[in-house]
Amino acid sequence: MIDVQDLTKQYAGRVAVDHISFRVEPGEIVGFLGPNGAGKSTTMRILSGFMPPTSGRAMVAGHDVFRDSLNVRRKVGYMPENAPLYTDMKVKEYLHFRGELKGLRGRDLRVRTGEAMDLCAITDVRRRLIGNLSKGYKQRVALADALIHRPPLLILDEPTNGLDPTQIRHVRELLRSLRPAHTILLSTHILSEVELTCDRVIMLHHGRIRASDTPRNLARQLRATSLVRLELQGDGRISEKLEALPGVRKVIVEKPDGAWQCYSLRVESQNDIREAILDVATASRWKIRELHRQLPTLEDVFVELAASEEGKKR
């Protein structure tokens, strides 16, 4: 659905996107992840036909984004960052206008306007002025606009920015429900978002792709540490024995819960040391009531990635 090769964009000499290449297959939900200024919005603006790349090539649904821009725009539903809208129009009037602009007519137009408003849960504000709506509603009006003509590809720039947790969950479910018919490329700087919604993550940093994989694999593959929590009763030099286990980087002694002593272990994530801990426990006659491994979140991966970048620079 999207085929990007060696795409570069410079703003007045400053590189915003630096030779990136990736593909998105039909039906996928792909997340662009990166801190502010990573080049997510720039890439999306190019893909939606708003501006041309400085060099490189991008194909969307079989059309070149620069040379065949009008055809690309017919097939893309784009929601820009911060949901820009005409503040002096009413919600329904606006969607009507946008639908017509995108080629919907007559009955089709009315039906799709209604559908889009229902999907995005904005039917109750359809007669209100957009300028008077809260940020959450504006965001959903923009989303309704993006999907009103049922485009095969949705490009959504930070679609959940400014929504409250309930609304975020609603948008997430909405996106998943669109899945068979629509391919979705969305961007966010919130990691949990991407973990829950996307099939694949493309991590951008300083205009380059740092990683591209499923959220799970990404977390596993990158050398982040996992956390093992442990509650036990026993004597002897417990922390020393735990530290001696392979792959353990650090043992943190936490506040004891009555007679139970609590530990957190930072462990390299490719090792699962839970069995080894049990073996030691049996040998030392410890009583264990909790043994839990927490896989690294993308948050951890991200922090590590950013830190390694900083390290390289110095």
């Binding site: 939606s48 708003f50 017919r74 809208l85 923009a142």
Partner: protein
């Protein structure tokens, strides 16, 4: 074509959602009213050359206030979209830059023409009230309408261009007002020094001097040269607007 109508409809509607159209209408009616009354006074007090039409449209102060209309009508067109960021949604829909520029310009032009209706109505009213005693010369009226229309084309195009340059409506208004006024004053300046220069220059001078155009047209003489002049200038400024709006799509 269909897309163009959709855009045009939206732009025309936008004028009536904001108070702009009504403010300009009020301004223009006051202006017309004063001008018309002044013309009547002239004709009442003494026999004079020229008709009611000539006296209404020729005073300088009429034209100086007249240039306030254009920034008011055009400053919003692109500047507001830039400020709101809606150019991004607009140009990611399947529309071409010409359709957008054309729709915005034509919408402003339509409003401009509508705004003149009450002013023109004054003459019909006069004829009706006086029972046909006062003569309203048709030729002069037609000439005035034509010159108002083509000068409108030009000044609205200037306004469109000014609006495409900035995201600040006030800045757009100032650029457009200054450009329109400078062009007009340049015409006066040239006409004045034109009397001291050889006749060969006078022809060229007549191309630029709006005051001269106004004088001939409001006397009922329809000359094609000024029409061509204003229409081509309008086309030039619309082409410039198109280029500015397209700028982001330029490849280095």
């Amino acid at each position: 074509m269909r897309t163009f109508w959709v855009l045009l409809k939206k732009e025309v509607k936008a004028f009536f959602v904001s108070p702009v159209a009504f403010i300009v209408l009020a301004l223009l009616m006051v202006l017309n009213g004063f001008s018309f009354r002044a013309a009547l006074t002239v004709l009442e007090t003494a026999p004079s050359e020229g008709s009611i039409v000539t006296w209404t449209f020729q005073p300088l102060w009429f034209w100086l206030s007249y240039f306030f209309i254009f920034p008011l009508l055009t400053m919003r067109l692109f500047a507001e979209e830039k400020k709101l960021g809606t150019l991004e949604t607009l140009f990611t829909a399947p529309v071409s830059t010409w359709q957008v520029v054309g729709a915005k310009f034509l919408a402003a032009l339509i409003i401009y023409c509508i705004l003149w209706l009450p002013g023109m109505g004054n003459f019909a009213l006069l004829k009706w009230i006086s029972g046909g005693v006062v003569e309203v010369p048709g030729g002069a009226l037609k000439g005035s309408a034509v010159i108002l229309f083509v000068m409108g084309l030009f000044n609205l195009a200037v306004g469109c261009f000014a609006s495409s340059l900035t995201s600040n409506q006030i800045v757009a208004a100032i650029i457009s007002f200054t450009t329109s006024l400078l062009h007009f004053l340049l015409g006066i300046f040239i006409t004045n020094i034109g009397k001291k220069i050889p006749a060969a220059f006078a022809d060229i001078v007549n191309y630029i001097a709006s005051v001269e155009h106004i004088r001939t047209f409001t006397n009922g003489l329809i000359d094609t040269r000024p029409i061509v002049y204003y229409v081509s200038l309008a086309a030039l400024f619309l082409a410039l607007t198109h280029q500015v709006v397209e700028f982001r799509r330029w490849r280095p």
